[in-house]
């Protein structure tokens, strides 16, 4: 009996201890104000928004969260830890394609509510396919037999698959090298471990400026919208207070882009401080982080659907989703969203 009591006491204490831990560091309320918990994949954009002052005097509070990678953002969204998750525009396509239950307009748990990117520029395209100059590849069709680095999912993967199609090659013709994330893929390319690379432009900037690499295709060639997006849970959008706060948030955010363009030095200083990047990368990031919200119109959905088709054809997703289900244009008006920001000028 005594032993049994000891065991029971142990179980109770462990449970109480673990439960007590869960209360550690729990966030307080916002004093009656609606609070939006918004994630971004680095700490620079929140710092820039704060510096711009566009959210000053708002009737809602914003808690910024730093979550790297789409997977972490999706987990945080599903668990209710955040209201808006930052990812690439293709992440929800993959999420939808991998969902156990088929998404419909009614049951889709997540929706993209904002998308943005910089105006098209060959010099500052966010997404590229590049080759090491030492590989002697002047045309992508010559990539046959060469190693080609990319990371799974998202628009980097789409860039890789569409580049293959553009090159008239299949995965059997090359040596595909898949990495866990874009940073590792870029590091392998910068280090000469792979000859061809599809992914973020900024991540291989040092190889490009040193002449060790050159770009053969960018996102305008592959027609990938390459948007940064914020994704929300359906129940957040259905909450009247959150919906009103989001409306005000996006309305205020529409004024951010002009501040960004008007304060290049301040923006670059913040980028250097937050991201620990050198001057060249800060200049690049200043340019690539310019832009405007993009309207979720038929043209964009058609382009997103084409990306989904490429991912499906390339075997990255097992079923072809209707990507329009994942885009909600309800805030486009307050965002002052423009059509086709990624189109060549």
């Amino acid at each position: 009996m005594k032993k049994l009591l000891i065991s029971l006491l142990t179980a109770v204490l462990v449970t109480a201890g673990l439960t007590g831990c869960s209360a550690f560091g729990s966030e307080g309320d916002s004093g009656g104000k609606t609070k939006l918990t918004i994630s971004y994949q680095d700490t620079a954009f929140p710092a820039l928004i704060k510096a711009s002052g566009v959210l000053d005097g708002a009737d809602f509070d914003v808690e910024w969260v730093n979550l790297t990678g789409p997977a972490a953002n999706l987990q945080a969204l599903y668990s209710g830890a955040i209201d808006l998750g930052h990812m690439g525009d293709t992440s929800l396509t993959i999420e939808q394609a991998n969902a156990k239950t088929e998404w419909t307009a009614d049951n889709a748990p997540l929706e993209i509510v904002a998308g943005w990117r910089n105006p098209y520029s060959e010099e500052y395209s966010p997404l590229v396919t590049a080759v090491r100059t030492s590989a002697g590849i002047d045309d992508l069709s010559q990539a046959k037999g060469h190693t080609w680095g990319y990371n799974f999912g998202g628009y980097n993967h789409a860039q890789y698959l569409v580049s293959l199609v553009k090159a008239g090659l299949s995965e059997q013709d090359i040596k595909p090298t898949q990495f866990a994330d874009g940073a590792t893929s870029a590091a392998a390319f910068n280090n000469g471990e792979v000859d061809v690379y599809s992914g973020a432009h900024g991540a291989i900037l040092s190889s490009l400026t040193s002449g060790d690499a050159k770009i053969l295709l960018d996102d305008s060639d592959t027609d990938i919208p390459a948007l940064n997006v914020w994704t929300a849970r359906k129940d957040v959008l259905a909450d009247d207070d959150k919906n009103a706060a989001l409306k005000d948030f996006f309305s205020r955010m529409s004024g951010y882009w002009a501040w960004h363009d008007d304060h290049p030095d301040e923006v670059k200083d913040i980028l250097k401080k937050q991201l620990k990047v050198d001057d060249a990368r800060a200049d690049f990031e200043f340019q690539v982080r310019r832009g405007q919200f993009q309207a979720f119109d038929d043209d964009l959905i058609t382009r997103e659907q084409a990306v989904a088709q490429s991912l499906f054809d390339g075997g990255a997703i097992a079923k072809l989703p209707d990507v329009g289900i994942g885009f909600d244009p309800r805030y486009n008006e307050v965002q002052k969203a423009v059509p086709d920001a990624g189109a060549p000028e």
Partner: protein
């Protein structure tokens, strides 16, 4: 030293034998005569210095690119940069607090569970098997689940470190108690010692070395878990610095951060060794000679 401790020392016949050929240091450690203290210290210092010089040479002579392996001076510059921006000063206390709180709660829970399981068959039957199952799960694989269960605040970070710290202490405590020589417990019974007296005079002193080894392991594991934990919504901490550097390919900062973890690991291990010496002054150990 208690009578039982003396008895325990006396039963350890190999130690008695080697004391004839080794000097007993004041700390209770046995020092070999073959090597003097100075050459040993020189050997300790020379190897890392040679390594650092070779490292710097390979970097400054361009044998290895700066992007692949930045030299020591570049890493010092990275520290200077982190110090000037205030990131390093901000990161260290935050990371240490996370690791410390996680280690204290996790290690404390492991200690409690280990003691109870060590002393009670019923408790062992109740939770040893599930704990053994759980301990084989790599805690890094739990990061996504911890986000779902505990959110993205401090709770999930601390919980991950707690989860990683419990098992080394639990296992070592449990085995240290179960590993006590049955004859010594029988001695206690012969002298009609109460259960509490047996625990205080036999179990605690004899299991303490094992328990402290568990805490040493747990301290190292807490630092490992810290790396994973600080990838969850960190806006400060060594893990945050590493994560950002990884995203923007600052190899010098990545190495600087890794070295901070290494130094923290050494410091924590040093503290635990010091604790061992303070808490177990009666215990004779040897130094490998």
């Amino acid at each position: 030293m208690t009578a039982v401790q003396e008895a325990a020392a006396a039963t350890s016949s190999p130690v008695r034998t080697v004391t004839r050929t080794y000097d007993r240091a004041r700390s209770g450690r046995l020092t070999g005569r073959g090597w003097g203290r100075t050459p040993q210290l020189v050997l300790r210092v020379v190897a890392p210095v040679v390594l650092i010089v070779l490292w710097q040479l390979s970097s400054s002579r361009g044998w290895v690119s700066e992007q692949t392996l930045p030299g020591p001076t570049t890493i010092l510059d990275a520290y200077r940069e982190l110090w000037q921006t205030g990131d390093l000063q901000a990161a260290l206390p935050i990371s240490l607090r996370r690791a410390g709180v996680g280690l204290l709660i996790g290690g404390g829970a492991g200690l409690f569970l280990g003691i109870v399981a060590g002393l009670s068959v019923t408790a062992e039957r109740a939770y040893d098997a599930p704990l053994q199952m759980i301990r084989t799960i790599p805690f890094i694989a739990l990061v996504p689940l911890f986000v779902v269960w505990f959110g993205i605040g401090e709770t999930s970070k601390i919980s991950l470190i707690i989860g990683a710290s419990i098992f080394p202490v639990y296992l070592n405590t449990y085995h240290a108690i179960r590993g006590i020589d049955r004859k010594l417990l029988e001695v206690g019974r012969t002298f009609e010692m109460s259960r509490w007296a047996t625990i205080r005079l036999v179990v605690v002193p004899l299991s303490m070395p094992g328990i402290l080894v568990g805490w040493r392991y747990a301290a190292g594991t807490a630092l490992l878990a810290l790396v994973a934990a600080e990838q969850i919504n960190s806006q400060a901490g060594i893990g945050y610095i590493l994560n950002t550097a990884n995203q923007f390919q600052r190899t010098d900062i990545i190495l600087a951060g890794i070295l901070v973890y290494a130094v923290l690991g050494l410091l924590v291990d040093g503290v635990m060794r010091g604790l061992e010496r303070v808490l177990l002054p009666w215990r004779a150990t040897h130094d490998g000679n």
